[in-house]
Amino acid sequence: MEHRYSRQTVLRDFGEAGQAKLTKGKVLVIGLGGLGLPVLQYLNAMGVGTLGLMDQDVVELHNLQRQILYAERDLGKQKLDVVHEKLHEQNSSTILKTHDTFLTKENALDVIQNYDVIVDATDNFPTRYLINDTCVILNKPFVYGALHGFEGHVSVFNYKDGPTYRCIYPNMPSSDEVPNCNENGVLGVIPGIIGTMQALEVVKILTGMGEVLSGKLLLFNGLNQHVGKIAFKSNLTNKNISKLQEFYEPMDCEAILSISAKDFQSIRESGDKITLIDVRTIKEFNDNHLKEALNIPLNELSQKPIDEINKVIYVICQSGQRSKKAAKQLQEAYPSITFYNILGGMNKMMVLCP
């Protein structure tokens, strides 16, 4: 009989039983970028019953070369909203749950416990280690994908008795050790290949079909189409995590306080006097800025004295990265003032108050 999923249910190893298992499956995809989108588009098309979406970024121009669900008209919109709308159009029977947040040590256990499989589609080490530790505590498998230039890595961690991310990489790299996509670049098609491999692993975990990529790290080299696999074993100490670490941010950032753009906007609306430093370049500042903002570009920060009459100072940039550096630098120079980094920066503020 012809039906929506007949091309896969006709497969003997998958069948109606496999489809029923997908329908029951609950999968959380953390990160709506180059990896997360292909994972979601395929799982949604194939009929996974419940999909959780988590991200707080907005669609930016430099996303479009690899994040092919987004169109030019989506620029500046919340990724979460765009993905929700497009996935609903693609398959209206999927239950879509949106999590308008980044994964933090405060929300990780609460969110992840509601899902069967977690997909690590993030772009930074602190979140990857947080996902690992939370999944170990809650006994959930997670499907890992990561990129570097023309290269991609895939594995399934914490699947049944299998090894974890820490069994192959025990220590989190510091922020200056390994560059991310923003600094290092990634060829547009590579996350598509790695993300679809992640989607395939999710399907195998949910249905029990085939061989799950547990205890093996798959290494893909796009320049010569070479695929290799490295076997590795569980280290019991890594399976015995009972609580999350105090900090997941690299050591040099942990002292910096941060505030969500939403909370900052409510402070602005409350009418209280605010001191806000915008550390972007003069050109960026002239293009757009919040009316109360004072512009001190990051590279001039050490030369401009800050009035110590202020008790609290907020720091902003375009996406929250430069402002984090600035807040750290300022906090060391002015211990009597409390500095807050505004998460998501102007990208986020423009959505809240266009």
């Binding site: 080490f125 570097h148 990489y169 989190m172 490295i230």
Partner: protein, 84 residues
């Protein structure tokens, strides 16, 4: 012996493979274990010493520091990568 390089190690060395001499014609000590190999490479490429986690695979299996290596082994350096 030839070492395959992945992720940032490829960028540090500037090539996707690296050849390590297996005879001591140069007078340098030849690495016999994974740990000695890391030290050997770290002398030539000090940036490698900065990596907090660096997986080494010998014949396609993750190897601990004390594992022995031979000239005919296939060795790979696999640091964590973070892009997404």
């Amino acid at each position: 012996m030839t070492i395959l390089l992945f992720g940032i190690t490829k960028d540090i060395v500037g090539s996707s493979t690296l050849s390590v001499p297996t005879s001591s014609a140069t007078g340098r000590r030849i690495p016999r274990t994974v740990k000695e190999l890391k030290q050997f490479l770290g002398e030539t490429y000090p940036e490698l010493n900065k990596l907090s986690s660096l997986a080494v695979a010998v014949n396609n299996s993750y190897a601990t520091d004390d594992e022995a290596i031979n000239s005919y082994d296939e060795i790979a350096l696999i640091p964590p990568v973070s892009g997404g």
